[in-house]
Every structure is written in C-alpha cells, then in structure tokens.
Symmetry: C2
Subunit: 342 residues, 2 copies
DNA sequence: ATTAGCAGTCACAGGCGGAGAGTGCTAAAA
DNA sequence: TTTTAGCACTCTCCGCCTGTGACTGCTAAT
C-alpha cells in the first residue's frame, strides 16, 4: 500500500498530521513554512495541499482555514512512522517494577491499564487473559454454617471463582473435605465437558458440586473476555475534541455499554501484530471519531489477552504504539511466569 | 431544630425547593401562584420570598431573577419531608429478584450500585461490607508448577484473596496439602495477631505461608472500605448543573481520586440512620455543590458497609432517601444470609 | 396584612462590523 | 514545467450594541 505521492507531498502530509496531533488546530501553509525547513515557499506548499485535499488526504473546516487530516491522511501517517520506537528505558523500568510488586494477579491488568492511560493521556484497554478451553485446576469446599457452603474453584492457574451452595441437609467440614478430595482426584486437569462426561456414581452432594463447577467453567469458556478494564476516560475527555457536552456524554455511554468491544476484539484476534483502526475504518457509527491501537499479549492457546489504547482520531499514534508494544511485552512476560513457560 | 417560620412561608420555601429540584430553573413568584393554590397574590409571595432571602434560605442569581434554594433552604426541605416514603412494590420486587439471582457475592454490591444509580439518576455508592476484626476461615495451597504456588485465603466468610508464592525448593502438591491441613487446624478462626502470636515451630515453608496469610489479613483489617463502587457518573453528569466542561472534569477527577470518601464514611459510621449532607455542610471545598444521602447496612461488628447516593445539591432527595433505605435493607438481608443470622 | 400597579434591573439573543487568518488565483520568474 | 510573489477574497471570531422579556421591589391604596 505504498502511495504514489512525491516525497515532498508525503513530507507535507506527515507534517500536517503531526502538527494537528500536537496542536488540535487546522494547519496553515505559513505554519509549515515557519516550523519546518522544506526549502520552498508557502505558495508551493499551498499547491501541494490543494493536491492532497483533492486526493482526500486532508480537508479544510471552512474555505479560509488551514487543513486537518482525514482518515486517509492519518492512515498514510501511521503507515509511515516507525513501528519500533521504544519507550525511554527509565519509563520501562518504572512500569516493570510497579507491576512486579503487585501481590495479586488481578491487579496486574487493572494497574497496567491505569499506567498506560496516564502514559498516553487517553483510554487504556486491558482484558484478562483467556484460554481457548479451560481446565480445572482445583476445587475447595468451605463450610460457612450448617446448610451454607462456599465453593471455590481455581480454573487454569489464574481464574479464581467463588459461589455459595445451599444444601438441603446439614453437612460437616469433614464431609465436604472428603467430597472435594474425591472430586479433585477425578476432575483435576479436565475441561468442563470431560467433567460432565465422567460418570462416577456421585452422591447427591457430589452431583450438586460437580454441576456447579461445570457451570462455572462453561460460563468461563463462553465469555469472550471476562473482564475488560477501561481506564483513563477522564484524561481522554480532557482533549479539546470533546468540548461539547453531548459528545462527552456519548463517549461515556459508549464506555459503559461496551457492545462495540466484542466485534473489535474478535477481529483483532485474527492478526498478530499491533493493529490500528482509525475513525470510520471501524464501520461503527459510534466510534467514528475515535481510533484504536490494539495488540495481543500472553501465550498462544493457553492465555491470550488484548491490550490497547482508545483515543480521538487526533491521538499521538507514535506514543500509543510504543506504549502498547511495551506493555504487551511486560504482560506476556508476567503471564508466562505464572504458566511456567519460557 | 424546628424553624420559626409561619406556615405559609414554610409552604413557599418547600414549593421553591421542590420546583427548583424539578426544573433546575430559578423559581418566580408568578410560577408559584400559577402552579399551587396558596390563596394569596404574587406580591404577597414576593414579600415572603424577600423574608426567606433575608433569613438565608434562598437567594437570587441576579437582581431580576427568581429564587433558588441555599443550603439552609435545602436543609429545611429535607427535614420536612417524610423519611419513610417507600418505593413502589413492583420496583422492590425487581430489585430483590435481580440481586437474588446473582451467583457471586461480589456481584451483589456492584449490581446494587448500578441499579440504584439508574433509579435515582445520580451516582450510587456501595462499599463492601467490612468486619471490625477479621478472622481466618480457610486457606488452601495449589501447586502451579515446581516452585510456584497459589495461596488462596478465605477471610471471614466473604472475603476471598489469592496470591502467588515462589518457593526456593521444588514442592509437591502432597507437601502443600499437608501444610495447609496443619495450618488450617491451628489457625482457623483466629485473627491476624493471634496467628502471629502462635508459635508452632514451623518449617521454612510453613513460616512463609503463615506470614503471607497474616499479611493479607492485616491489609484487610487496615482497609477502611476495601472496595467502593461508584456507579452512574454518566447519569449525574447529564444534569444541567454540569454543563460546563471544567466542572464535569472536576467531578470525574473527584470520583477517581476518592480521597474525600474516607472522612465522609468515618463520620457516617457513628450514626445509625440515613444521613444527609448538603453541599457546603461537608466542609469539603471539592464537594461544595454536591449532596450525599448515606446509610449503612449489614450486621453490627461482623460486617458493615455503607450505601448512598451522590448528586448535585439539587437532587431529588425524596427519591434518593427512599431508594437508599430500601437498598440498605435488601443488602442487610443478603449479607445476614451468608453469616447465618436471622 | 395584603394587593394592584408600575418603575427599574438584568440576562439573553440577535444583529452588526471590524480585524485577522488563510486561502486561491494570476501572472511573472526560474 | 515548477515555483514564487502578490493580492483579492472568504470566513470565523470577538466585541459591541440594542431590544425584549422576565422578575422583582417599592409605593400607595385596600
């Protein structure tokens, strides 16, 4: 997809995009002349801008205004910037350290999202890692009182679920322990369907527990991404594009509803490297002036998650890409530690 | 704190507050004349309004405008409305049913907050219930691989925590099971300090686990409210008082920072019934045009939480009070079920 | 104590105009 | 053919003004 623009036109286009990203103001030919050494006059720049406008890269808000990039212009820009810019080492260290010091796994993803949001000044998206198919690691039954039992299930190393079970007969902790021992030896390492297929003439209580466990695992299997953190909405809404209140509220609604997430992530799931979706490219009316920079992290098959940045089309793509890249590496590293890989 | 206003002046004050709550517009004497049968002319109403203004109940945004309530006016209003209005039965049922159908305890509080936010069109606050002093219910060790172990701790029936432990020597699941059995028999039902006080000549591994468990419990003890859901920000920001963007952003920042919560909840902890804090009454600059309707729920000593509504001073107090009241009853009921009371 | 009547105040919306920013075009230069 | 200087033209933005309408506060009568 190499464009057939002359090198000066390419340069001017990239300047316009970069300048607009930095200032949020339409870019005038004089501004380009002043801030960059192109060796040509503003009139020449204007001629090139007229051409770029004709080709649909840029547009003017009104007749006597500077230019702002269109989707096609942003696209050209992101294709042309280096995808491998790295975050400053010191920032890398800070990120790594703050994540490593967390005690609970669940925190990794939330904290990662919060840090990333601050780094890019936009909304950060981090999903929990998810396996293709979950297997049971461990189950545990704790007696709360007489009829009420707490069922704790560990699924595939990292997923911890709890549920109350009410029995019709009073039980003791000893009974519960023997049930959980039995079920653990028979079910450990199995998937939900394997568990249900296994016939081991269970007692009523064992049957009850088995079903509950299988239900939880099925629910887990069927989730696309069972938790998705979206952090930094406030930072994003501080941007000048959201000056109008109705737009702010629409975005907030979007972040609560989250129905656009699923198709987005499903599409993302196919590809391997950082993917950038600019404005209307998403074919989703409600996302039409937002862009996404998305990547994946984790271990293929076993535990994959998505990580990304959401911002106005005018976001700092270079920064977003490098941050997402680094963050996905760190999370992959952390997750593989839990799964005993590498 | 009964005020010495004539009954007509009281009536007019309450009309002004109610009308302003409903319309968000300054209330004119003519409006009162038109919408309510007071049997006096607008000039008389104006005279009374002048008195109410002089006494600090209401004020005018500018000379030739209607009146809006001041904090003192709102205070008079909330004191005078019935505190025992009930939600419609059908709404009560809907709330009860949606909460009862949830499988995970953690969901109760989040869902309760979301429902309440929708009901009052403002921000709903729900904290997790918290005990005065936690005791250990159960601990469990699950081998993930060689050196990496997942420690699961159940604290006081409802709090479930997990943490990874990395051992310097490889261990087997059998070893882990015997460790957890031993620790469970010795530690069950104890508080963190009791656990630390107990000297049972532990092995290095047992020592490691004991310390981790105690750490988690101490952390839990020290938290004021370990999770606080604030839902419905979008609904609140839809209100006309937040038309200016900087105010919206300030509120969003407030909801993220949450440092005002602790003093608020601590103060609330002393009293038993629904507490209403109007605007500046909080003595917190950042909360000066917000009001809170707060209540508690749960079981004294064992598991107490806070629940409430946050909105602009111009919020519908009647609705907020009845909703908070009912919600706290439902949550108390649910929580006592888990603790086997009642 | 209440009311009618009326003058006075102030916010608000619409219209006007000048300044400034930036372009597009034209004609000349390279 | 490409680039440039020069200039007319367009359009936004901002401040200013003014008329209108919404309310009040006051006064004098009831």
């Amino acid at each position: 997809m190499v464009s057939d623009l002359t090198s000066r036109r390419r340069a001017i286009l990239n300047i316009i995009v970069a300048e607009y990203i930095a200032t949020a103001m339409p870019v005038a030919s004089e501004t380009i002349l002043r801030n960059y050494q192109l060796g040509v006059s503003s009139a020449t720049i204007r001629n090139d801008m007229a051409y770029l406008e004709q080709e649909g890269f840029i547009a003017k808000p009104h007749t006597s205004a500077g230019s702002i990039p269109l989707v096609k212009g942003y696209r050209h820009y992101v294709e042309s910037i280096a995808k491998d810019t790295e975050l400053p080492l010191e920032e890398q260290h800070r990120i790594r350290d703050s994540l490593r010091n967390l005690e609970e796994t669940e925190q990794w993803f939330k904290v990662a999202a919060a840090m990333m949001a601050r780094l890019v000044g936009n909304v950060a998206l981090v999903t929990f890692p998810k396996a293709r198919r979950y297997h049971l690691k461990h189950l545990e039954l704790v007696l709360l009182h007489e009829f009420l039992v707490l069922l704790i299930v560990v699924i595939s190393e990292t997923v911890l679920r709890q549920q109350f079970l009410t029995f019709s007969e009073p039980v003791t902790q000893e009974q519960l322990t023997s049930i959980s021992n039995k079920l653990n030896t028979h079910y450990a390492g199995l998937t939900s369907s394997q568990i249900l297929a296994k016939k081991l003439l269970p007692t009523a209580e064992e049957k009850r527990v088995t079903e509950a466990v299988a239900d939880m695992m099925v629910a887990e299997d069927e989730l696309d991404y069972h938790a998705t953190y979206l952090e930094g909405l406030r930072l994003m809404l501080g941007q000048p594009e959201f000056i109008r209140k109705d737009r702010m509220l629409r975005i907030m609604e979007l972040m609560e509803a989250r129905d656009w997430l699923k198709p987005m992530l499903r599409q993302q799931a196919e590809t391997e490297q950082v993917q950038i979706v600019i404005g209307e490219e998403s074919h989703d009316e409600s996302l039409k002036d937002l862009s996404l920079v998305l990547s994946r992290y984790g271990i293929p098959q076993k535990a994959r998650g998505a990580i990304g940045v959401i911002g106005p089309t005018r976001m700092d793509y270079r920064r977003a890409i490098s941050t997402v890249n680094y963050m996905s590496q760190v999370l992959s590293y952390l997750v593989s530690g839990v799964y005993g890989e590498d």
